[in-house]
Symmetry: C2
Subunit: 435 residues, 2 copies
């Protein structure tokens, strides 16, 4: 009875407020893992980014303005008039067979000879990360990931209560010796190490690529420790020199779940990605997908299938490469000119550069001041599971055109130098350093 | 060591087989809940159903042959040429705002005055079931569901290791007194009862509809016990008389998560559904969705938005109603003529009738014999979490045309009467009854 009275008092107090500000009556009903759902730092930025006066170097939206819209419109029209009853219907849980074959052809570009029967179509490769994580992770299980790692994957890992441990990278990507040592120590300490999550090509956020010689080494380390590899590869075809690296999957087909995406080599709007896994794991992925969404969108699958079959999709990829290379150049030029006190990676492909701030400047606390100066970036802390990253920021050059990139970095430089000044002003050295 | 020797023997025996038949080297790596992923009985039927000579009364595929494909093709063309850069891009995790407003207008038909800000767009309403279940269910938590209940939801519940308890229905749907008693007993026994999962309109698989007077009663029972309601409503607009019932949501807006779908009132191919929830829960749903898929397909959202805005979508719903009513009539006529030894429900809308077989006939063991006679159905056991349902089968009249429905039931009648004969032949009474 006391409980009810208390509730009544609270309800009376809150009467007239909007529902969202009431105390959540379901607070005690959520699953334990619901407490681990957190708003990502990138998400909090969305509202800011949408203001046109802000130069956003924060998001990861591809620039799709070069797509041949008239041709795509024609294809969509033809698809619906000629195959409408199929395109608008349910499909199979794993994906539409002709489309699985098209995907295998895309994978062949990265040296993978894929059995279409082991491909599963997902609602963007984000869903593949979610499904694979749910398939392998019990609360407390360890996922090993690069230091730093993709914010969207870290969100999934947190939601499934994984214990994420980072492994050092250098300019050639993940360091196999460090990986070996880390896994050995974790296992020795009794941890269940479930998989390595890695983005070998034009890494998000670091922009670094795993060297070709390290690929078999990374596979061998994991094979020896019997640790699965989840190889996330949305940017692999976007190398600025046109070079494509063999996937880690090619060195250990039985131990790698490879994730692919059309969001960067075509467009994100259909939300179509895929997972390629050994048959044992693929079977469980398909059951998970059926449970999650019944079947992937036939509209998306058939439209993409038509695009891959009827259109010079690889020519479009080369167009994208040229465009992103110019933007990378604009970014690096601007950093060189305006931010000489910082260090940054020079990516050979993809969307991002990873910038180390001058000693003592905090990317998280600096962000509101940057937004005041009408420029946005993603603080480095978003890319770690353990609070690291305050001295880094990710700058994206994928979406804004070159002159905006330059203007964004110019504004950012102003913010950084003010931070440095402030820091000097209040540092122990300057203020007398007593204690 | 003994274990390894055994493994070696097995592996040697299996050498040369396809990968899928090898022992899974990752067997010990899966999460505990992966063991609960089961192939649904409906899934196993898919291979059979696709053979053209089989009349399938098993699936739940809508008949979308009446859709105005030429107009839809025109709309798609216009959408891509005029809004291509938006339609092919990422969107927000919750959904595209103008589309949320369109959905609110659809919900108004079922007496719900929805705040668009509390709608979340999902990849089919299946994803909404999955997300809500993950949000509330820790292993062992109880979900109360009708007896029988939707197979696709039961699959999700099993995957999340929920303890599903069924509650009796009669011809007016879920019985509020039985619900009350069941929840009371479960709580008294120390169970955490998390939600009631219910499909009030033209229930899948029973075909029964919750009467209008029971709706506030069901809401009140749950409110009193502080048990959330998940109201799954894919068929609500497909009432053959044109009547629409007020959603349970309208009686308890703070305690109901309402799930909607475009798969039956338009088409499934875009995989677009939605969840409508109180703001506290909606916030967590959106975070879960972002983690699962980043954002729903803009292609699907913008295409559906255009369809709802530019096309007489409600007129299409009335076309569907007429078509499905004729098929329901064909089904009931055929049952009356060919299967008088069975009992069945006469649905006022939706896709399904629920058939009780003659005493002792087992729908699960009968299925292979039915398929031999070129007719398929879904055994009743698919719709229970606890092995019940051997004496029931679900017959769908949604996809096959009327003459095929009639022919399917005729074939089924032959199978049933042979089962009855066999049973008589071997029953204790006939064989002398010694024991």
């Amino acid at each position: 009875m006391t409980d009810w009275n208390e509730l009544d008092v609270k309800e009376a107090r809150m009467a007239g407020h909007a529902q969202g500000t009431h105390l959540d009556p379901w607070q005690d009903a959520y699953a334990a893992k619901a407490a681990h759902l957190k708003e990502s730092e990138i998400r909090a930025l969305f509202a800011v980014v949408s203001r046109p006066e802000v130069v956003s170097l924060a998001g990861g939206m591809p620039n799709i303005s070069d797509l041949p819209l008239d041709q795509l419109a024609e294809s969509a029209h033809r698809l619906i008039t000629s195959h409408g009853a199929q395109v608008l219907q349910y499909g199979s849980g794993q994906g539409w067979e002709p489309f699985l074959e098209s995907i295998a052809e895309v994978m062949a570009v990265e040296h993978i000879s894929a059995d279409p029967g082991n491909i599963s179509v997902t609602t963007g490769s984000q869903q593949a990360i979610d499904i694979v994580t749910q398939l392998f992770i019990d609360p407390g299980d360890v996922i090993v990931a690069e230091s730093p790692s993709y914010v969207g994957a870290l969100g999934v890992f947190a939601a499934q209560q994984a214990d994420v441990r980072h492994v050092e990278m250098d300019e050639n990507g993940l360091i196999p010796e460090a990986l070996d040592e880390r896994i050995r120590d974790l296992k020795a300490a009794g941890h269940r190490v479930k998989f390595l999550y890695t983005c070998p090509n034009y890494h998000n956020p670091s922009g670094v690529t795993l060297s070709e010689e390290r690929r078999p080494q990374a596979a061998e380390v994991c094979r020896r420790h019997h640790v699965l590899i989840v190889e996330d590869n949305p940017y692999g075809l976007l190398g600025f020199s046109g070079r494509t690296y063999p996937a880690i999957q090619t060195y250990w087909p039985d131990g790698v779940v490879y994730l692919g995406s059309f969001s960067k080599i075509f467009a994100p709007g259909f939300r179509i990605g895929w997972a390629y896994a050994p048959a044992w794991i693929r079977k469980k992925i398909v059951l998970s997908l059926e449970s999650a969404v019944l079947s992937p969108s036939m509209v998306g699958q058939m439209a993409l299938h038509g695009y891959l079959r009827d259109y010079d999709w690889y020519g479009q990829v080369t167009t994208y490469r040229d465009m992103y290379r110019s933007r990378r150049d604009a970014m690096v030029d601007a950093l060189t000119e305006f931010l000489p006190t910082c260090q940054w990676t020079v990516p050979d492909g993809g969307f991002y550069t990873w910038v180390k701030l001058p000693e003592g400047v905090n990317s998280k606390t600096m962000l509101p001041r940057a937004v005041t100066e009408l420029v946005a970036y993603t603080p480095g802390t978003a890319f770690y599971a353990d609070g690291q990253g305050t001295d880094y920021m990710r700058l994206s050059y994928c979406y804004p055109p070159e002159d905006e990139i330059r203007e964004g970095v110019r504004r950012l430089a102003r913010v950084v130098s003010r931070e440095v000044e402030l820091q000097h002003m209040f540092s122990p050295d300057r203020s007398g350093g007593h204690e």
